[in-house]
Symmetry: C2
Subunit: 511 residues, 2 copies
């Protein structure tokens, strides 16, 4: 069996949950994994049984209080949704968030500097003779390490720098491919297509003027002016895309994009006896789950009390993962918990619906287990995520800022009693599970493929190295138009000349 | 186990070899297959152990003498190559071939008419309750049957109507995706890009004005004006593409395109004792295989005698599949055969090189077994096929019309003695064989997937239904440009107005 050495450059927070799962699977397949982390990392622990770690200490000054950031972010998002999203509020919001975005990437680059400047560390990395660099290109410093070490790269990716990863690597006509940050389906009206193109332009500008300059400086410093940061990104051997087409809209892709959406999904395990007892006590009515993810500790109490009041009116039992202030009007049927075995619960036959913020992991787990969703999206890609289920008739969406006891109750009742939601989700589940290989095994397979063959360049186009006018055939079309024009002019000129000559001859005769 | 009913609409000749292999595999997996064939079909036999057949008798008048066609075609091709391909000869050649192309598709449509008009046959097809229609869309009549029966469609495809199938279903920038009929790599010079776009335009015109009208008339007759033939093609659920990226250049693709290139490849079996004895008699020098496929019965004798004379000068043994006149100057080391177990020979460790016309099946078999190729392309896609191996350093190409004893011998010697050819082919072989599932099993898996789920619409974009200006965002860009123009005009106008007012005020003071 081939045992490889992997250098992993992850992103902290929820991204790490995905990366860690992949690392555990790689470790179980006999490979050795080294993870680079910052000393202040919240989620990425130092050496564990399944990976070694390289800890880099960053200068204190630039550290970002992430928990604060997400709280501020949510408050702002709710505020904006309440006001109604006029283009001005929207752009203003983006404008205010830009310094933080810039800071996050500056910090990521600082990690790069610390690695590259630490000669002992670089030498020890070189001496390890890694086979591949596994990168979450949300913060793509690992790409520079791969370039320095002349190693093949595999991405574990959904988003890249400031947009959806496909846009960097596959043709993405904005006429039917919705841009990240804009919740639309693949069937857009004219005005939706206008907005989609504007969103795309905005994302491109942010990437070009806010994000990339950080990495361009780094690339310039260590590799000189001939190396292009964006080309390093586009040159990754394999893109393990955390996407599945029961969820994502069909769109163009490339041969080196491998789809591993739902790779975190697995069979549910039996519940603890207390939880099982609570679930069974629901009888024929069944149970509703509710969770708004790990980032949002609590919604404003005016929202949670509306939800609590709605829950109190239904015969179902409710398990609610809730970390904030306990609502006063909580019904007897509702169990508040700090943590719950979400996957095991979703796989339980008594579960009737899932109230979710629309985080990717939760969405894929509910697809896997065929549980319909009531979506309360709060920020980031959550709006796009729940929209994708809504379009397929597998979810009902309630806007957090317009949520009332009445409309939330109606949404829950509809998902519970209209069988189409459950049937549609069951159909998505059947399609999703029907694969020659589980997505996690697919991911490990292609990482091993890259290690075995020292890359996968035969699957990767190098068309990104072309000039834009050559890529879009602008030069060729201009030439052909010029030739056509010249031909037309010659023909028209000749005809005119002949006509004039004929007329010139005739006229004197007529007179 | 799920047992499905498949309706198969194949293409005769070499295409049938591929389809038949797939049918055998489906039969072995427990499915029942019905193949529609014409009474005059040369390759597709009536009922066999692994399929039932529906035989349709066409009016005699339109039958095309295919063997004659290929002989005429080859003679013409060689003539053109000798003259050097000026655009005029090239276009003239296309022009002369168009009536035959039109006739082939007219015949295919006649098959459609015979099926649709035979009410008893249609009823019996309806009564069979097929699960899926499997079509080779080179002659896409099966697509109409699928539409009539409201059944999902799977394509077994490389070419469609008159071009490479990807062009119909996936974005294909002509700046790096070579068009069918034009032998270029994915890295083109400016003039190659010009030629590629012209080839693409030519193919599109032939499709639009020569091929499609036949099917449009058929669709109009049976489904009315609201159904678009091209949309029926683009709406296929799964495209089993007979392509592998060790061979094809990387290019954009779609989620419902499944790559099964090399699905015909399999382990070699032991040779017959006579053949094994001949092969072993080659000693350390090994054996060279030569075959120019099934369509070309014989090359002109002036070419074969050059080849024979070159073979006579090498210490290797040669096995030559040859059906025409026996060259006088054949060496003692050369064995002429009418037929050979090509796959078993290619997998034999004594085989050093394969002299091939560049037919797809032979090329994939040589990739599978890692045998380097000396290519003598004659017609159709053979030029493109051998170019793909040449670019990867796994083949040497000799033009048939410029072939001399001397240059052919040099090509053979180079492939035999420069280890890079063999090494490159071995590398391609290793990459090709490294797959989670054999391509044939992949093909069966996705056909069964479509039968299990009654389609695969979640993998298929419907963007082809958009108007061209919407698809390419022409309308959106025009609007945005207009707004930009208006804004600029307003700003410039205002500034001018203010300036004039200011100047107007100042001037009187100065005077």
């Amino acid at each position: 069996m081939f045992r490889g050495q992997l250098f992993v450059s992850p992103v902290d927070e929820s991204h790490w949950v995905n990366m860690n799962l992949l690392i555990q699977s790689l470790h179980a397949s006999g490979h050795e994994v080294t993870v680079v982390r910052t000393a202040t990392s919240w989620y990425i622990k130092e050496n564990t049984p399944h990976y070694d770690s390289i800890t880099v200490t960053l200068p204190e000054a630039i550290n970002i209080e992430k928990q604060d950031f997400f709280v501020t972010f949510l408050v702002k998002m709710l505020e904006i949704q309440k006001q109604g999203t006029s283009p001005i509020t929207f752009l203003n919001f983006y404008w205010e968030m830009l310094p933080t975005l810039s800071k996050i990437h500056a910090q990521s680059c600082l990690l790069g500097v610390e690695i590259f400047e630490n000669k002992t560390l670089m030498q020890s990395i070189r001496d390890t003779h890694f086979d591949v660099v596994l990168v979450d290109p949300g913060l793509p410093v690992g790409v520079l390490v791969a370039h320095e070490l002349r190693l093949p790269t595999v991405f574990n990716v959904k988003w890249i720098t400031s947009g959806e990863a496909h846009f960097v690597v596959a043709p993405s006509p904005t006429s039917y491919v919705p841009t990240s940050g804009y919740a639309a389906s693949d069937k857009m009206t004219f005005w939706q297509r206008v907005k989609n193109l504007l969103h795309y332009t905005l994302n491109t500008c942010i990437d070009k003027f806010i994000v990339c300059p950080h990495y361009d400086r780094l690339v310039d410093r260590y590799f000189g002016p001939d190396v292009n940061f964006y080309h390093l990104l586009q040159g990754a051997d394999i893109w393990l895309m955390r996407v599945d087409f029961v969820f994502e809209f069909p769109r163009p892709t490339m041969p080196n994009v491998v789809y591993i959406g739902g790779f975190q999904c697995k069979q549910s395990k039996p519940l603890s006896s207390e939880l099982e007892e609570f679930v069974q006590s629901s009888g024929e009515h069944g149970v509703i789950l509710m969770s708004l993810g790990t980032l949002v500790k609590a919604l404003p109490v005016e929202i949670t009390s509306e939800i609590a009041s709605a829950f109190a009116q239904i015969p179902q039992k409710v398990i609610w993962r809730h970390a904030g202030e306990r609502p006063n009007n909580l019904g007897n049927n509702t169990l508040l918990v700090n943590w719950m075995p979400q996957n095991d619960l979703l796989g339980h036959p008594k579960i009737r619906a899932f109230v979710s913020h629309g985080g990717t992991n939760g969405i894929y787990e509910s697809i896997y287990h065929g549980v319909p969703v009531i979506g309360i999206p709060l920020m980031f890609d959550q709006f796009e995520n729940v929209l994708r289920l809504e379009v397929r008739g597998a979810a009902k969406v309630v806007e957090a800022t317009k949520l009332t006891q009445q409309n939330f109750l109606e949404a829950v009742q509809e998902v519970l009693h209209n069988p189409s939601y459950r049937n549609n989700m069951k159909r998505l589940s059947a399609l999703h599970r029907d694969k020659p290989l589980h997505p996690l095994d697919t991911a490990v397979y292609w990482i091993e493929f890259v290690m075995r063959h020292k890359g996968a360049s035969h699957l990767r186009t190098e068309s990104y190295k072309m000039r834009w006018y050559a890529y879009y055939s602008v030069d060729v079309v201009c030439l052909l138009l010029a030739v056509l024009l010249l031909l037309t002019a010659t023909v028209v000129g000749s005809i005119r000349f002949v006509c004039l000559r004929l007329c010139g001859r005739r006229k004197p005769k007529q007179e």
